[in-house]
């Protein structure tokens, strides 16, 4: 495998540091602009201190096909509150003024990026301080659209692998992957079923036979205990729907966040981080 096509970013440095510490990382997912652009920026600013090692920020899309009800709803809340791709980049710029260490990964679907313009997007994303991209509907078959230009622009392009990605296909998927590989632990959508840990361990081992990149595991991890179990066998655990659900559950009748919402989200992040950090002790 070639490593020169793997940009060095805050993501690669973070995974190197985690490896040195001998622990797995916590990756948190929140949708940009949920429930409002201001509240969302405020929550994100506290999330690294609360224990997130890497931050995934969802770019809201009207038709999030791979997502379950929690993230679908968060995406629609954000859009309703006026969230756009330029505003998502703006949140990242604000974040970077205060935190230049924590890796940020944008996750979403291709159409808003395509409409923004791929070259313009990559330039603006890099300047805003984004380290990596996860674009759900761009499999390796469409790598020319964004993956290869992203590597050229110095960003990590993180590929998803799934239980359906067999040994024959894995080399194709990890070929241009960088930063880490994201293992989707279930055949399904985000925030629904939960994977069996034994199955995850086998799958992570299988992926490691095809790549030396760190492997993060997500989809269906909701509790600190589940995160801890995953942290025993993977390089990072990704939690999204459970965090997004806290936001959903703490809004007033107009959809504005109730006082204390940020604390509740950060409290869960803290508990998840404790789970992940204590996993291998």
């Amino acid at each position: 495998m070639t490593t020169e096509s793997r940009p060095e970013t805050r993501i690669t440095r973070k995974f190197a540091a985690l490896k040195a510490e001998g622990r797995a990382g916590l990756v948190t997912f929140l949708t940009a602009g949920d429930p409002t652009p201001e509240a969302s920026e405020d929550i994100l600013l506290g999330i690294a201190e609360a224990g997130a090692d890497l931050i995934e920020i969802g770019m809201p899309f009207s038709d999030p096909m791979a997502d379950g009800p929690a993230i679908q709803a968060s995406s629609l809340r954000a859009l309703k509150a006026g969230m756009t791709l330029p505003k998502t980049l703006e949140i990242v710029r604000s974040f970077r003024k205060k935190d230049d260490e924590t890796p940020i990964i944008l996750m979403g679907y291709f159409n808003p990026i395509y409409i923004y313009g791929v070259d313009r997007f990559l330039k603006d994303a890099r300047e805003a301080g984004i380290d990596g991209l996860i674009v759900v509907d761009l499999p390796p078959e469409e790598e020319g659209e964004l993956c290869l230009p992203a590597i050229e622009a110095g960003l990590n392009f993180i590929y998803l692998t799934a239980p359906t990605t067999d040994d024959k296909r894995l080399p194709k998927v990890v070929k241009h992957a960088s930063g880490f590989v994201y293992y989707v632990s279930i055949t399904g959508i985000t925030g629904t079923k939960s994977a069996d840990v034994g199955h995850v361990a086998d799958s992570v081992a299988r992926i490691r036979r095809h790549t030396d990149l760190p492997v993060a595991v997500g989809f269906g991890i909701k509790t600190p205990d589940q995160a801890a179990e995953i942290a025993k066998v993977a390089d990072a655990a990704v939690v999204g729907s459970a965090l997004v659900q806290v936001i959903a559950d703490n809004r007033d009748e107009n959809g504005a966040p109730l006082p204390g919402t940020k604390d509740k989200v950060l409290e869960l992040v803290g508990a998840l981080a404790d789970g992940v950090r204590g996993a291998r002790n």
Partner: protein, 402 residues
């Protein structure tokens, strides 16, 4: 763009028609899409597969559908000779069954034991529920909650046929959301499920595969017109939502330079109002549901809902091959408003004794615009792709009938 030697070779091996089409799906689905492609590549070169398809077309669907000279309408327009390709006479009342027979035969070959589908107006849902009953397979149909309410007769038909109807409330509760939900079902049930997509859109190989099933329309038309008039038609016209009936009529004629091809989109309240479903005339290229194609969307790349009096045209995208044919200029795409379609619906009913669906009423409305100014020896074929039984309540409402 320079003229091509053939317009019939697409898509390329990666599923693209130039920049359109492709396979923009999540990794969990990608291996399944590749399986479908492999199975399809194998089936389409297997004479036994097509023998079985043709047998069902003839004895179950009732093909060939007649090519009918609409004499009273021809007289009424006073110009071109107007023929109807009578796909509304097919079993289940529309062209949709051509495709569902083809796909369920493929599902059977692949050993899949469960079928899912999305539906808007319910015609594809009924056609899928029908073939599932015929082949004894369980069927789950995703349908936007809004459509479940406005297309009740089709909902009842599907239930009687044994299908489970899942009303979709996610997003805006319309056809695009039903398709999202069907895709979510598919990623959650990868082992046993086959997704029968209802139009010539979605990830490769669906656009090409659905087109190949629907080409029975154009192939028959060509043969029938040769028999009846001794030559090819001058103009072929079809309504376009996703565009499967249109591509089925057009494709066999793409390399016949003398044949003028016209696709008719739904202009709803008028393209200038923003309330329409004319992806080609009022949208721009983007990526949704596994393919790049013209889409109705905002400046920020968010997909917006279309509007049309016809639920079957109410989709913010269009099959990728149509996007390509538009850019090449081989097919001309026009649009017709709700009001014009409603007038054509009544005209066809009163002059020909045929109650058309609201979808082909759009095509007929365009025929009404051009036929009077064309010479009497000009031959028009319009695809009457569905019957209007499903629409009578809605139309009665619009017309204020009791």
């Amino acid at each position: 763009m320079s003229k091509l030697n053939t317009y019939r070779e697409g898509p390329d091996e990666t599923g693209h028609f130039d920049i359109y089409g492709g396979r923009y799906v999540a990794e969990t689905l990608m291996p399944l899409i590749l399986q479908v492609q492999e199975a399809w590549d194998n089936a389409k070169n297997d004479a036994a597969y097509w023998d079985e398809f043709n047998r069902y077309m003839k004895h179950y669907v009732g093909r060939p559908s007649p090519l009918y000279l609409a004499e009273r309408l021809t007289d009424h327009f006073g110009g071109a000779k107007v023929y109807f390709k009578r796909d509304e006479l097919n079993h289940t009342g529309a062209h949709k069954i051509n495709n569902t027979i083809g796909q369920i035969l493929l599902a059977k070959r692949m050993g899949k034991g469960r079928i899912i589908a999305e539906t808007g107006a319910g015609q594809h849902g009924v056609a899928t529920a029908t073939v599932c009953a015929l082949f004894g397979l369980p069927c789950v149909v995703y349908m936007g909650e809004t459509d479940v309410k406005r297309q009740r007769p089709n909902v009842v038909r599907m239930k009687m046929l044994g299908a489970e109807i899942v009303p979709v409330t996610a997003g805006t509760g319309t056809l695009k959301d039903a398709m999202n939900e069907a895709l979510r079902d598919w990623v959650s049930n990868v082992d046993d499920t086959f997704y029968i997509i209802g139009t010539a859109a979605g990830p490769h190989p669906y656009p090409a595969m659905v087109r190949d099933f629907q080409c029975v329309i154009g192939n028959e038309t060509k043969e029938q017109m040769m028999e009846m008039e001794g030559r090819l038609p001058d103009t072929c016209i079809a309504a376009i939502g996703g565009g499967s009936n249109a591509i089925g009529l057009f494709h066999p004629f793409l390399d016949d330079d003398s044949v003028n091809l016209i696709g008719v989109e739904a202009a709803g309240h008028g393209i200038e109002t923003g309330e329409h479903c004319a992806s080609l005339n009022g949208g721009r290229p983007g990526v949704l549901h596994g393919n790049r194609t013209y889409l109705l969307q905002t400046e920020d790349g968010q997909i917006v809902d279309g509007h049309s009096i016809s639920a079957g045209l109410d989709y913010p995208g269009i099959g990728p091959e149509h996007s390509w044919l538009r850019d090449t200029g081989r097919v001309n795409y026009v649009s017709i408003t709700d009001k014009e379609a409603l007038e054509a619906f009544q005209l066809c009913t009163k002059k020909e004794g045929i109650i058309p669906a609201l979808e082909p009423s759009h095509a007929l409305a365009h025929v009404a615009k051009i036929a009077p100014d064309l010479p009497k020896d000009h031959l028009i074929v319009m695809n009457l792709c569905g019957r209007g039984d499903k629409d009578v309540d809605a139309v009665a409402g619009y017309l204020g009938m009791d």
